[in-house]
Amino acid sequence: MKTSITNPRITGVLGVLLWVGLWHFAALAINEPLYLPRPLEVLERLVTILGEKDLPIILAASTLRVLTAFAFSTLLGVGLGTLCGLHPTLENLFKPLVSLIRATPVISIIILAIVWLSSSNVPIFTGILMCFPIIWVSTVKGIQSTDPLLVEMANLYQVSSLRILHKVYLPGALPALKAGLVSALGLGFKVIAASEVLSLPRFAIGSLLHDAKVYLEIADLVAWTLIIIALSAVFEGLLEKSLALLTRSKEVNPL
């Protein structure tokens, strides 16, 4: 079988090699690990970090914060988003609040949260405030993009509201909602890491990022960043897969 250069897997691997190569040459050119460590140095630190005894606790604690914030945001965002999507008056009431949260710089929210809450709750609070608007907006959009003729048909045939929600609105809203959930989870990992850097809870990737910055251990900083990226990618992938399984027959077929 012939292997094509346009094969997405091959081009993907080539892409990674290209950018890592560029990083390597840039690090060689700069020749100052404090500014930019070489990929091999980062890999060495990564291997050391991966062998550390506390790593599972640190990863679990940070991931738990992300998942808690994500679960709360999903409950709030989907619940309120559905109600607001169905009732424009309610949507108008919530819109200013959601727009305000979206426009507020994440750093302001983190600092306020540090003033208000204990250090271990700051990342969760910040995560909720950052993820909720994305899920709310995608739910509202999804509900409102449902075919009104199908809703009219279901109402004329006196189908119960709960059944209409389940069989008409949910499949109509799913594409937008899925996209919103996945991007909210990705954002959750970034925001919570940032929040941990400033609030410094015990057992947190962000706290270790902070230490790496303070002690100018740039290779460690990049290695922890790679760990966050990997965690985020794994959980986004898991979420996409579970949503696909859960909604296999529920999505509107594009054909």
Binding site: L149, L150, E152, M153, A154, L156, Y157, Q158, V159, S160, R163, K167, V168, P171, S249, K250, E251, V252, N253, L255
Partner: protein, 234 residues
């Protein structure tokens, strides 16, 4: 009898109906014929209670007892043929066995028994409209409202879909009210025809097309009736 009395309705000061009256018999197929844009769909929406009127009343109709065949099939894209019917029947047939029996009987009448587990995107345009006919007949209604149900179908498909309608109608008589701009459809299906014309809309002519009881074959003078209806349309 379904009676529309002194119906008044205007959109942006343009009167659509002004003191409009119409009486439709139960257990008949009443065809309402009229040119496009005359207000046929509005009239059927008034009968169905979808469009509220500014003045006038509609008597002799319980809105809980209506089923519909729309211009477009309006099927749930994520549900199978079977589940599309089950969706509207849940409340009225809570017993799954009874519900299944009703669904299978109606799908059989429209020739979709083999397509039970298929999704709407796997069906042709004609099959989709046959499914919407099965849904309307399966629903325990006394009155069936149809808004140009054969519009947009080519000649061959239209004939298949009309046959499916006739089979379902013969099996389960309902009061049928339908609007169309197609003279042939009206002559083929109706027991009584009302020709709607001018604006504000008026009933210009009423024609009774008699058929043998239990059969859909017209008795006599169809050519004359066609000519008379055509004349009133022009």
């Amino acid at each position: 009898m379904i009676c529309l009395k002194n119906i008044n309705l205007a959109y942006d000061d343009t009167p659509i109906f002004e003191d409009f009256n119409l009486s439709l018999n139960h257990n008949e197929i009443s065809g309402i014929l009229g040119a496009s844009g005359i207000g046929k769909t509005t009239l059927i929406n008034i009968i169905a209670g979808i469009t509220p009127v500014q003045k006038g009343t509609v008597h002799g109709l319980d809105h809980q007892e209506l089923s519909y065949i729309f211009q477009e099939p309006r099927l749930l894209p994520t549900e199978t043929v079977y589940d599309n019917l089950s969706f509207v029947l849940h409340k009225h047939y809570p017993d799954p066995r009874k519900r299944r029996e009703v669904i299978l009987r109606n799908l059989d009448l429209v020739g979709l028994l083999d397509a039970l587990n298929r999704y709407p995107f796997e069906l042709s345009g004609g099959m989709k409209q046959r499914l919407s006919i099965a849904r309307a007949f399966a629903f325990p209604s006394r009155v069936l409202i149809m808004d140009e149900p054969f519009k947009g179908l080519d000649v061959k498909l239209k004939s298949t879909v009309m046959e499916a309608f006739k089979r379902s109608y013969q099996a389960m008589h309902k009061t049928v009210v339908f609007v169309t701009h197609d003279l042939d459809e009206v002559l083929d299906l109706s027991d009584r025809v009302f020709v709607l014309g001018s604006r504000p809309a008026k009933v210009l002519a009423t024609e009774v097309i008699l058929r043998e009881p239990g059969h859909r074959t017209p008795l006599e003078n169809m050519d004359k009736k066609r000519a008379s209806l055509l004349k009133s349309l022009l």
